[in-house]
Each structure stands twice: as C-alpha cells, then as structure tokens.
C-alpha cells in the first residue's frame, strides 16, 4: 500500500481497491458473525480454556477445521489425527491457491504467506468473480486484502465475543445455521452452468453417503468425484 494515491475522478487507487474489497465482503457479515460466535462458544463448551480458545482462533482462523477438531480434542485423539483432520477440512484452500496464485506470484514470500493465511470461502468467490468480470482490474491485491482483512476482523471479534459469552448463549438457538446459509448464498450463483450443476449434485450426494468416513475423507472423495462429474459433462458437451 505504498503506491501513490491519485485523486483523478473514477481512477482505481490502491486505497479505493482495498475499500471496495471490504465493501463487497460486507453483505456476508451476518453469516460470518454468527458463525464466528458459534465457533467461539463451541470451543469453550468443548472444554478449552478462554486463553486456549482465543489463541486457537487467532492462529488457526479456520471455522470448520476448528469445529471438526473439537470432538477429537475432547476425546484426546492423537495429535497427528487432529492435524490430519484439520488438513482435510482445509484442503479446498489448496485448490483456491492453485486457482489464484498467478495473481499473487509477483509478491514477496512474506506477503504470500499472509494472503494465504487470510483466504476464506467468501473472499475467494468474490475475488474470482471480480477478476472474471474485470480481467484488467488494477490493484487486485489490494482488493483481495481489503475483503480478506475485513473478514478476519469480523470473524475474530465475533469468535472472541463467543468465547467470553459461551455460558450465556444457548446452543438451542441454532445460530451455526447462519454460517451454512452463507455458503448456500455463495454457491447459488456458481451453479450457472450445467457442468457445475452436475458436479455440485454429485459432490452433495457423495458427501452424504460418505458422511461417516473418518478424518473427513468423505469430503475429499465428494470433491474429487464432483470435479470428475463436472469435467465429464463439460467434455461431453464440447464433443462434436
């Protein structure tokens, strides 16, 4: 963010790109907030101390991986199993980084580590949609950091509120559903083509059938078969 800021009307500056990223994340705030709150509550209710829960939230910044690890930690599962489960739940981020790395490859190593750490589902979908609409948008790195940092701040605030109010928020409210519904709203616009629709249906069915496979490997299987189905439909349609 050291580039000079110009004030020409309509010109994209690093600052305006950063603010636009933050602004385009904001419609998702109720989902992010509810999900962070629920994750904070769940960590403390599973037996983590307030300190441990706060440190875990700040370091890992991974809602679904944290939630997946909690029952294992409560059962004193081996550390390698806890780690592997978190890796499996986070594997979609590997794919996200494959699909976005060319936009960030020119940055220094330290910045790349930070932007990787800050990736979330919402900002990934926003970022790729924006690049598709505006392939020559300048300062895309600032746009990304604007949304990703806004997401991080919202998440950490809500998570820490959850940690400190865990005993007063009943789980019967079902607040965690708001997080899942955010993903629904993210997924709907992606389903605009037949290959994606086929992949989504296959991934959904497999994820339900393979729900009880340990280490969340069913998730991995569902993604792999979904991608294969989508690709097969794409090939079948483009074949003469």
């Amino acid at each position: 963010m050291s580039e000079p800021i110009t004030n020409d009307a309509g010109a994209v500056t690093p600052r305006s790109a950063f603010l636009r990223g933050a602004r385009e994340l904001m419609p998702a705030w109720p989902g992010i907030f509810a999900w962070g709150l629920v994750t904070g509550v769940a960590m403390v209710k599973s037996g983590l101390s307030v300190t441990a829960a706060t440190v875990l939230s700040l370091l890992a910044y991974a809602g679904s991986a944290q939630l997946a690890a909690l029952p294992l930690m409560a059962a004193f599962a081996p550390i390698w199993l806890v780690t592997l489960t978190a890796v499996t739940v986070n594997l979609r981020f590997v794919v996200y980084s494959v699909l976005t790395r060319r936009h960030f490859a020119h940055l220094g190593a330290q910045r790349r580590v930070w932007l990787g750490y800050l990736v979330g589902d919402i900002m990934f979908v926003r970022f790729t949609a924006m690049i598709e609409r505006e392939p020559h948008y300048p300062h895309r790195v600032h746009y990304y950091f604007g949304g990703a940092i806004a997401n991080w701040v919202l998440w950490q605030i809500s998570s820490i509120i959850g940690i400190f109010t865990a005993t007063t928020i009943p789980t019967s409210w079902g607040l965690e559903l708001a997080g899942t519904l955010t993903l629904v709203a993210l997924l709907v616009p992606l389903c605009a083509s037949r290959p994606v629709l086929a992949g989504v249906v296959v991934a959904a069915v497999v994820s339900v059938l393979a729900h009880d496979v340990p280490m969340r490997l069913g998730l991995l299987l569902a993604i792999a078969l979904g991608v294969a189905a989508a690709f097969a439909v794409e090939r079948a349609r483009s074949a003469p």
Binding site: G31, V95, R102, Y117, G174, L183, L190, A230
Partner: protein
C-alpha cells in the same frame, strides 16, 4: 482438557492452516500443474462448498433427517431460492433463519 495436550493440538491445527493455505502460494508459478487438471479444478470450489454445506443441512444428531424435526434442510432451500430471486445475501441468510425458527416454534422442536 489437559494443558500440554491442548497446546500441541493448537500447534497441529495451526500447522494445518499454513500447510493448506499458504504452501502453494509460496511455490507460486514454480509449481507446474497439467493444464487439463487445472481446468478441471475450476469446478472444485463449487463442489467443495456443496460437500461442506449439504451434510450440515441434512444430518441431525449424526442421522440423516429430512423430516420437519430437522428444519435446517428446508431453511437451506428457502435461502437458495431467496438468493436466486434477489441476489441479496442478507435477505437470504435472514429468510432462511426465519423459516428455521418459525418451523421449530410451530412444530415444537
């Protein structure tokens, strides 16, 4: 939970975060992926979202439950319809939550 165990577990989960999110960014363009695979991977984000959220909606207490005792799946459908109709995330999330709470209140869940 016992203290040293908890800290080792937190370290493990943090390691998982960095491994999955940042390691490929560190390789950058040095990582070569076959173009066919990279083009197929365009479908992975949508598949991953579906594989994460669908079980969340249809399982209750470890059991597949598509009755009104588990209104989450219905809330998911309502959310999707609202979003498809007016592209508003806030309307979609709050509409789904409203349906969820309403059915639970009426159905006595």
């Amino acid at each position: 939970m016992i203290e040293p165990y908890v800290w080792w577990a937190i370290l493990g989960i943090t390691f998982a975060t960095f491994l999955s999110r940042s390691s490929l960014h560190l390789l950058g363009n040095r990582l070569q992926i076959p173009p066919t695979l990279e083009s197929a991977l365009r479908y992975a984000p949508a598949c991953a979202l579906a594989a994460i959220l669908v079980p969340d909606l249809v399982f209750a207490g470890g059991q597949l439950d598509l009755s009104l005792d588990n209104p989450r799946w219905l809330a998911g459908i309502v959310s999707a319809v609202i979003f498809a109709a007016n592209r508003s995330m806030i309307a979609s999330i709050s509409g789904g939550m409203a349906v969820f709470w309403l059915i639970r209140a009426v159905h006595g869940g």
